[in-house]
């Protein structure tokens, strides 16, 4: 193939990518993300988190513009200067659009309607150059970054990998400042932290370069080691592999026990929150991922678990004090310790699950979704109402919930480390239950129902009972989480159980990988750990204001590009990428007779 000229590009494609990039930048500016995150310095004094977001866009656009679709079985188009030109063009288009926006920002005043509209945004987007200078600078920066993006595309795989590792390491050290600082302080290396981070926050320039060099060393030194390990693991004998799995499990357990002791309060708090969401996500994973029942009122069971625990274990619970019917009937009931109350709470939540599940289980998928949502809201509104407030406290909620008394100590919110241990025990139980059920007859029945309900029914599966079992199991796992939540926080309010919680749990399951236990855990660690839960702050506490927006954007992206999640379930991936699977099969020469055959292969 002859060398292609540098101008052999698809200008329409480049420009449209660039315009989308421009719109993204303007959107980030207008929602306040850019200015809001500008306070957070990553590398003092060069880069702030806000600029990182803005500058990453043209870089990515350049890369995408340079990327050409490679058809399977065709020779890949030669990479070269044309990629850089395509990237630069995209960057220029994006930059020009931002320039136009700058002029608009200067001439029209919409600050009354849009809070982010104003001089601060103008200053930031124009790099403090004013409007005239800003237009030039925006176009210039866009072009340069776009060309850089294109250049990254030209690079061979190996240097690209190294660059990626270096950049990610430096950024992680900068972004995870709080946790690194916390950990270093805990193990007595405070001076190191002082050296790494500047006073105004963020890595200083010199340490940033050092971190980059160390990462470079690792990236080159450990080249291909990961793949090597994987092939070795894959080629192991069955018995040997089991042995390795056992060691890995022991290592995980030891790490789970030892690590929290080394970590500070912030990280332990975070881990405990992540654990609570892992529990919830594991439960929803059974319902949505395994049985294919889209329950978006899942928070209801979390709420029932928490309220159940609060009602049973709190001496000053409203129903014990106020003179109501509930008091008259159950007044004799003693205040129970957490461990005794737990089985009651579980049974109670399971019963609620049955109550909600039975009427909805036969509905069409989307009707079911909206009805579960309705039930979730009904339960929250009832908790909130004046009608039940003599029993459940209404908007005042239930306060002073005691912690978990385990003999030696009482586990409550002031000791996040113990809460984490408690959560970890229940996560282990939940993983065990999930795994056992998935690999059993009932798990296969769920899968059959998810794939094709009428056929499953024709094969003799009792679909109603099977789906109900999934629904109730999910409810029970959520009740674990709720029960721990009540003891950890020490109070329950109806507003802790918004629909938002259901959606975030769903996000965790989808992003992690529906139907796959490790995926779901990874999803919870990544999302809840880094971005934070609905009310709980994550590692990036500075995101709190934009957390939900980022969640939303991330989710839309995931649904469009990778609906199977980060760590996908194999069967599901095939189903979602049926075209690619068909193409692969065609290339290999065996022609499947129908789509179904590939999906179930």
């Amino acid at each position: 193939m002859s060398t292609r000229s540098a101008t052999d590009i698809d200008p329409k494609h480049s420009v449209s990518v660039g315009l989308i990039a421009g719109i993204s930048i303007i959107f980030m500016g207008l929602v306040g993300l850019a200015v809001g995150l500008n306070e957070r310095i990553l590398i003092d004094p060069i880069l702030s988190l806000g600029y990182l977001f803005l500058l990453a866009v043209p870089l990515g656009a350049g890369y995408i513009a340079a990327n050409e679709t490679v058809l399977e079985g065709m020779q890949a188009p030669e990479k070269g200067t044309r990629d850089i030109v395509a990237g630069a063009l995209a960057g220029l288009a994006g930059g020009a659009m931002v320039g136009l926006f700058l002029i608009l920002l200067d001439t029209v005043d919409l600050s009354e309607k849009m809070p982010a509209w104003g001089d601060r945004l103008l200053d930031m987007l124009s790099f403090n150059q004013g409007v005239g200078g800003g237009v030039v600078v925006a176009a210039l920066v866009g072009t340069v970054l776009g060309a850089l993006g294109g250049a990254i595309h030209v690079l061979k795989d190996e240097p690209r990998r190294v660059i990626k590792i270096v950049i990610i390491s430096v950024l992680s050290f900068a972004i995870l400042e709080a946790i690194v600082d916390d950990v270093l302080g805990e193990i007595g290396l405070k001076p190191v932290a002082k050296f790494l981070y500047s006073k105004s926050g963020g890595l200083s320039v010199l340490p940033a370069i050092l971190v980059g060099i160390v990462a470079l060393g690792f990236a080159i030194g450990f080249k291909g080691k990961g793949d090597e390990l994987k092939t070795r693991y894959d080629t192991m004998e069955e018995a040997e592999r089991k042995q390795v799995n056992k060691y890995a499990l022991i290592a995980v357990v030891v790490a789970a026990v030892v690590l929290p002791m080394l970590l500070g309060k912030i990280v332990n708090e975070l881990l405990a929150n992540v654990g609570l969401f892992v529990l919830l996500a594991l439960g929803l994973n059974i319902v949505v991922g395994r049985a294919g029942i889209l329950d978006i009122g899942y928070v209801a069971f979390f709420a029932v678990g928490a309220y159940g625990m609060a009602v049973l274990t709190t001496p000053e619970a409203p129903w014990r004090i106020n003179d109501t019917l509930v008091h008259d009937i159950f007044g004799w009931l003693p205040v129970l310790p957490w461990l005794v109350a737990l089985p009651i709470v579980v049974v109670m939540t399971g019963f609620v699950g049955l109550l909600i599940g039975t009427p909805v289980i036969r509905m069409r998928g989307d009707y079911l979704a909206i009805v579960t949502l309705g039930f979730g809201e009904i339960i929250r509104l009832l908790f909130l109402s004046d009608w039940l407030s003599p029993t459940l406290g209404g908007s005042q909620g239930i306060r002073n919930i005691p912690g978990v008394n385990v003999g030696v100590t009482e586990i409550n919110g002031t000791k996040p480390q113990y809460v984490f241990y408690l959560v970890a025990v229940f996560v282990a139980i939940a993983i065990y239950i999930s795994h056992q059920m998935e690999t059993s007859r009932i798990g296969r029945a769920w899968m059959a129902i998810r794939e094709d309900e009428p056929v499953a029914e024709a094969m003799g599966i009792n679909t109603v009972t099977t789906k109900l079992i999934a629904f109730v199991t999910g409810a029970v796992l959520a009740s674990f989480s709720g029960a721990i939540f009540a003891a950890k926080v020490g109070s329950t309010f109806p507003n802790s159980f918004l629909l938002l919680v259901s959606i975030i749990i769903l996000v965790v399951v989808i992003v992690g990988g529906m139907g796959n236990i490790p995926g779901v855990i990874l999803g919870a660690v990544v999302l809840i750990g880094i971005l934070g839960g609905p009310k709980q702050p994550g590692l990036l506490a500075e995101f709190s204001q934009f957390k939900l927006l980022i969640y939303g954007a991330l989710l839309v992206f995931m649904m469009l590009k990778k609906p199977e999640g980060l760590l996908p379930n194999a069967a599901r991936t095939r189903e979602l990428h049926i075209d690619e699977a068909l193409q692969d099969a065609w290339l290999k020469g065996d022609k499947p007779s129908s789509e179904d055959e590939v999906a179930t292969a």
């Binding site: 009427p359 839309v556 469009l560």
Partner: protein, 371 residues
Amino acid sequence: MIAVKRSKQSVLRTNNSVDLFLTVIRVVSLIVIALGLLLFFIEQIRGTALNGDAPLTGGAIRGLFVTGVSQGAMYGLIALGYSMVYGVLGFINFAHGEVFMAGAMSAWITSNILFDNGMWEGGFSFIIALLIVLLVAIVVSTLATILIERIAYRPRRESPRLIPLITSIVVSFFMQNAVLGLFGPASKTLPAPPSWMSDSYTFLEIEGTKILVMVIAAISMAGLWVFVERTKTGKAMRAVAEDKEIAALMGIDVNRTIVTTFAVGGAMAGVAGVLWGLLFRGVSSQTGFLPGIKAFTAAVIGGVGNLGGSMAGGLILGVAESVGPLLILKPMTIPAVSQLKDAVAFAVLVLVLLFKPTGLFGERLASEDRA
């Protein structure tokens, strides 16, 4: 490739305990409703409520009824979008509530601009201003829904059913937060309409705004009906809803028809957004959520895919929601029933799906979507 169509004729189901349970729920809910109504009538006849208050007066009940009808008209307009999209694509477009919210937001902006220019008063100029607001809202909502369809739904149209459904929930979540970020959390109010709008008219003493809302809803509905039943595009829409493949074979551009369906639904949601602005005057990024769910309930009540049914379902739901708590819950001495208004709306949804999941006036769905 010819997709293998499976008959979804269900095999005989034998789950007696589940059936029994469902029957129990049905009977219990009927008893609760009957009891509430009975107590209500006793109160009315006796002249005092059970908790000692004075019972509802005729005027109060009429007022609730009128409020219910005007809100119901708005729900009906939103419900049309759910219904039509469900008709062609077979999934609930959760983001439709947000399309409605976009319309209401645009109404907030345009009406305030017009108010600043002195057009939001008087008789004739107010009507012109209102038409401008309506037009802008229709354009905004239509654009929003077309964009959503293009970006989020089209690429995944052939995926398993759960995927577009989750995508629509996700899009709705994203739009709520994007609007919150763009326009800030501060409360947003439309300017007060001219005084002749808040006077009462006719022997029913209906407020001017409510008359206006009903009139606008009726005109939009009539326009939509003419469009769907009398134009060629409308015919294409009905054909695509019936069977996409056959419609394509008949030379109908299925993609374009789907976009048209979304656009028409979006336009109706835009009108509904303006009606929301007229009725409540307050708009926020959360505005779309509850009306969206309620409108979906209305679509189910009327029968999904059935346009007249959606409108009727909206009216029924509006009245039920407005009158129901006072008629059924309050006589049972439940305090602060207005707090439970939304819970009642959700309960209506559950009950409708329990008693008659195909709606009161029958569904009109593509053959493959019929359960």
